[in-house]
Assembly symmetry: C2
Homo-oligomer: 459 residues x 2
Amino acid sequence: MFEKEIYIKRRELLKKSVNSGIVLLLGNGEAAVNYADNAYTFRQDSSFIYYIGLDTPGLAYVLDIDNDTEYLLGDELTIDDIIWMGNLPSLKERAAAVGIETVLPYSRLSDFVAKNKPVHYLKPYRHLNTLYLCDLLDKKADEVISGFSIELTKAIIKMRLIKSVEELKSLEDSGKTGYAMHIVAMKMCQQGVSEREIAGVIEGLAISEGARVSFPTILSMNGQTLHNHDHSGILAPGRLMLCDAGSENMDHYASDFTRTTAVGGAYSQKQKDIHNIVLKALNDSIALAKPGVTYKSVHRNAYKIIFEGLRSLGLMKGDTEEALNAGAPALFMPHGLGHAMGLDVHDMENLGETCVGYDDEVARDTMFGYKSLRFGKRLEPGHVLTVEPGIYFIPQLIEKWKTENINTAFINFEKLKAYDGFGGIRLEDDIVITPEGSRLVYEKRLPVTPEEIERAVKD
Amino acid sequence: MFEKEIYIKRRELLKKSVNSGIVLLLGNGEAAVNYADNAYTFRQDSSFIYYIGLDTPGLAYVLDIDNDTEYLLGDELTIDDIIWMGNLPSLKERAAAVGIETVLPYSRLSDFVAKNKPVHYLKPYRHLNTLYLCDLLDKKADEVISGFSIELTKAIIKMRLIKSVEELKSLEDSGKTGYAMHIVAMKMCQQGVSEREIAGVIEGLAISEGARVSFPTILSMNGQTLHNHDHSGILAPGRLMLCDAGSENMDHYASDFTRTTAVGGAYSQKQKDIHNIVLKALNDSIALAKPGVTYKSVHRNAYKIIFEGLRSLGLMKGDTEEALNAGAPALFMPHGLGHAMGLDVHDMENLGETCVGYDDEVARDTMFGYKSLRFGKRLEPGHVLTVEPGIYFIPQLIEKWKTENINTAFINFEKLKAYDGFGGIRLEDDIVITPEGSRLVYEKRLPVTPEEIERAVKD
């Protein structure tokens, strides 16, 4: 938690961005695993963390814009709560710690709705909150979901997108744990070790040093499946292990890195060649990212590097501009170059990915590959982004393009056969846009060349 | 997953237990952490696992009792699913693997509801399923929740409560990982180590060797908080670390053990005295547990041992029977002796704890302490239970009883002052009721005497 004044200032700014009515921020509740009392690790809503800072279930915040009053709503602990779950300061004390004077029981939320003023709330993504809003507003689920406040959503995105000094420190702290997770994964990347064992150890490290992982760990020899949570493989010689993993620190700021490691650190020339194209795309993207540049253009440049690299290996062919205009490199990188990161690993994705990553100037593309770019707009100092180019050999996608004659002018399908079973390589760093350009969020960079990674494996 | 025939047989038995209408088992969906696509580790519903065995989100099962037909409902993967999340066999193939012939798209569920027959479903605990049932049945959430089928619920509890040979093997497998988690925790129980670090390492081990932890790890020097998930302490000399943790294996069977370890393995005489009372309660309970005995009577016997042990230390006083009838030992053990365990660590708690643990013969008590006993009924071969007595010094509860003059005839409040800051000791093993008596689920027993634990710490 930050200093009280930070939350007060944030709420002051929020108040100025919403015209009138009631602002309602619902905190998260517990989420059941297999029965109500067996809950997943509690995760507070990120906007609630940003404005209120309190990290326990069962809270709501109301800002009455017209009367310039604010309230924290929640229920005090019972003796049973204390015996089973432990004690907490009173609601009043906890509210005071973040600069809120007035507290009310949770059930009093209905009083504010009864005032017949517009209630600004965010689109719910937790079904408990959807059910609660159905009851509170006497509406059906689809009406509740579509009835969120665009005004409030845009105001929050605008504030949260530019990271402050203290947020950058917290992101750096999270990056430190993410770094440690990847070093451990590299060292464990040895023939005969199971993917699941490594995933467990690094997820444990995220819990040891912070709150949890910032997203489910992707760790697989089958890196061509972009979000591969199947960890059933046993590391085999000659294969690559793609590890995309990060941590969430105790303040809930994320880290998110990807490295692809040759099992036992032994890269083949073929693997090095692909690795080095991805690495060039990564380094060039970081160098390009600066205020005033659109991230969509950085993504396009990454496609250019991938195209030219694969052409030099004989896997792609033709004219660069034509291939880029046709979207041909998306066969090998069907995902976006990166996304905003902060309290969420895909920052504010619950508020609408396109609303976060695009604006009136830069529109989201519908072309395959580009359509998956989560953030495309012009960069500003304080933006925090991931940069994560990759090259994958996805049998089903190659087959589809071949069968449906998609971009055949730019792809050498015959030569691709030799890459069957190659998997995929992705390399990812986290950057912050500075007034001059960009820098890594956590300044110590993970081993990233085949030679550096080989040393980390064998150390 | 077990052999196909096991699931077929289970469904055959289920069919015979429900009179008429439609049986609807909803599998679980993904549960959002901070936005829809950032999901907690997927956990299938346990009854769905038991009858259908398929472990992916977005499935439902329909059994039409009157027409003797059954269906698996779900949607096939798209090319996007395959690129991002990986491939799976077709729905038809997956259904066939568990003996179901007919598959339908998920949306076809509404056809069965339209037939105007009674729809038997279980009480939803996942809000997504509640929302789905609201839509499907065109009812409000409270109607959906109260409208579950008692007939189906009772039929399932009856079947799942008695563990088969293959289930016992799976529970043993899970116990092996739980054992390893506790050995690691004991070895790490050294001055200066943080609770969070240890919790992370053992949760990581659960992920490395299985699916996940079977419940959020309880690991704290403040063992007097029964379900303490606050891991912010740094282990200090002279203190006790209570660790209540277990794993869920890949088949989703649970383990659940508790050990309390003196930091650095150095027990004081005071700690040993309390430890040995709890240990006697544990061992006597295991010896008592056998077919025909009610678990409520075993719980009462544990209270007897705790009372007599604490009386010998001068902390309690008076006549044993009178103290037991008054519920005096509950001050020191305000929880139940144990619970059923299986696919859920509190087995079938989602179906109703009292419905699982009590029956027409043995009713749930309302007395403090007894009211928290989750399982009280007569034991039968195949029941799997935890045995987990404890003694805690809970300042807020002691203060309450003292102030409100509760059971003052049996408690020496003056002497209790010397136990301020002691924390609590709980010891827990998992047993299976056999035709002759009971045995440990995982036959290798964790170190349990102060001397054994001391050796494990120092090894």
